[in-house]
Amino acid sequence: MRRLLPVVLLAIIFVAPEAAHAARISELSDSTMAERALRFLTFQDPSLRNALAGSMLLGICCGLMGAFLVVRKMALMGDALSHAVLPGVALGFLWNMTKDPLAIFVGATLSGLLGAGTVQLIRHTTRHKEDAALGFVLASFFGVGICLFTMIQNIPGGNKSGLDKFMFGQAAALSQGDVLLLAAVTVLAAGAVLLFYKEYTLTSFDTGFARSLGMPVQFFHYSLMLLLAFAIVSSLQAVGVVLVSAMLVIPASTAFLLTDRFGLMLLLAAIFGLCSGAIGSFFSFVGRNLPTGPFMVLAAASLFAGALLLGPRHGILSRWWRQRSRSARIRRENTLKAIYQVLEDDGFRREAAGVSELAERRRETREEAMRQIASVRKSGFVTALGDAVSFTPKGWQRACEIVRNHRLWELYLTNAAHIAADHVHEDAEVIEHVLGEEIVLKLEKRLNYARRDPHGKLIPGLKDIRMGRASRRPSRATGFGPDISPV
């Protein structure tokens, strides 16, 4: 969250001068930013308490519903639905020319459901797929909504204050009634998800199977859509029509980056939604009643970026780290292999290989070879005395394993896959680092415990490597092992 601060502050600096004369509700325009932050954090304003509670509630219910949209691959449905409610908001206002929360709620929900129904109608009666249907509904309903809003502005009379907030959202404009409505919707959504967790999960994951169990799949689908519409409609005033879909999709996507469990994903999505809502309303307040929606979305997007970067499993950093440690391991293993080969060329008569021999073998500079040796030495695979490098028991075992993997794979490719002997080396260079013990056992069996690779070199066997690595004389029969008891 700290990382987010400079970004948002920067945004405030750019937007603030313009907003200063645009500030309408605020009678605090004379106070400084720090004072306003203090007021926010001490909850002095009752209107602020409404704004904060509302923002957090909407974060929770949008997060929960969004999690379903994300796993059902219906993210765009949220976008279409949120735009489709706009005509309903206008009609709800026209009902008695005032901003009555209930009338607007009913109008917006009906209009949203009409939009969802239109999507279904287009999908089933024309050759269009869902994307085109969603695009059509989103744009056309939004267009109708804008027309109605313009009309309302031109009608004289009526209490139109706050109606403009539906576009970009203003948490400060939330009334007590709005917050109560939000609380009711959140409790309803959370209760339904908690109670029917099993049913909602199965119908989202495997519809066919759910139906084969006699589950009322349609009921669960439409009840979810209805809850979604409720969530969108009750959040409209605080986030705005344009950005409410972001509060559905972003916290849920963030949660999806962090977990493989649906239950935890729902919880995380609700938490991220809550945080985004709180942060959004904070900056909106500090920035003299700037529109709340954009700040909430910025907060949610920053959380998403954080998860993308720092997530333990799917995060970019951890992936990069794993990649890095893997290439380091491969480099170490290649060094061990080179030492083995140098010793093998000499019939294992010596215990130590020279640095220059290794450099020559790997076609590297001496400095490069020194660096590699330092790395394997740090891992406890070799000891170095001056220029002479010799294996520790652990290093000897690992080197044998790598050489064995390489040669077994070469043999397997030539014998079983009938690939020419001079084609197999490159492939084995890669495979040698990833073969597990189980596969090695299978390979050995498949190749009848062969002892020679396609190039006539000896293959160290799995048993030989495990047993008697201490005090063994170089055996001509198996090709292993000088006496390598550590110095």
Partner: protein, 257 residues
């Protein structure tokens, strides 16, 4: 083999016709499946094999005819039917674990809003053990090979503890050794009096695995014990090209508004 048991047949289908988008894909199917048999459904692509088992479970609307499961409409007996859908029918990136999916097999035994009990978990564990996937119980399902995913679905069906199993291509993407293990499992179910209908695409395997075969190509070509119906003539009729006029008519019907 005519079973004169007093209990009704696991599956009875009479004059079933199924249409997809007004286009008929199955015509006038009559079937009477005896209890305790392992039956393969074979036929060329587009013959309506999957359609047949989906229609049985009411996943597709039936144009005409009727289906009875243990003597009653499917809706009244769904708890006696286990289902293995095609592997591609779900999104494997869905955030659930192997254990979660197998537990879904128990949902048919649970009331609305009831959570799986400890006993359900034990059953699910046993089923995972049977398909040799217990060590993978906690894994997210996309971290499995195709054959393992297929076995997860099989374990889920086992957890349903049903009397009639409908399986849609359970051998796709499964290696030979696993296929053998699955067949052993299916035979064991059969010996316990279960009835299994398996959509299968490989003719050689079909002859070896199943006691009876349903040969399908938009209509029922033959149904009977494998050695009786696995004949060159019947196979030729089943696979020897579509019935061109039949599918032409179907096209015409489908094209009508």
């Amino acid at each position: 083999m005519t079973e004169s048991s007093p209990s009704p047949a696991p599956l009875e289908i009479h004059d079933l016709t199924v249409a997809y988008h007004k286009k008929p894909v199955l015509y006038g199917i009559d079937l009477n499946i005896p209890r305790g048999s392992l039956i393969g459904i074979i036929g060329p692509n587009g013959a309506g094999k999957s359609t047949l088992i989906k229609a049985v479970m009411g996943l597709l609307p039936v144009s005409s005819g009727w289906i009875k499961v243990f003597g009653k409409p499917y809706k009244e007996n769904f708890h006696r039917v286990g289902y293995v859908p095609q592997r591609e029918s779900v999104d494997w990136d869905f955030p659930v674990s192997v254990m979660d999916v197998v537990l879904m097999g128990r949902y048919g035994h649970l009331r609305l809003a009831q959570r799986p009990t400890k006993q359900d978990r034990e059953i699910a564990k046993d089923c995972l053990e049977k398909v040799n996937l217990l060590p993978f119980a906690g894994r997210q399902i996309s971290n499995l090979s195709g054959g393992q995913q297929q076995r997860v679905f099989l374990a889920r069906a086992l957890a349903q503890d049903s009397d009639l199993y409908l399986m849609d291509e359970p051998f796709v993407g499964v290696d030979a050794a696993t296929e053998e293990a699955i067949i052993t499992l299916l035979r064991e179910l059969k010996s316990r009096g279960k009835t299994l209908l398996v959509v299968h695409h490989d003719l050689a395997g079909a002859r070896e695995y199943f006691d009876r075969l349903i040969l399908l190509n938009m209509r029922l070509v033959a149904f009977g014990p494998t050695q009786e119906v696995f004949t060159p003539e019947i196979l030729q009729t089943t696979y020897g090209g579509r019935l061109t006029i039949l599918s032409d008519v179907a096209q015409t019907l489908g094209a009508q508004p």
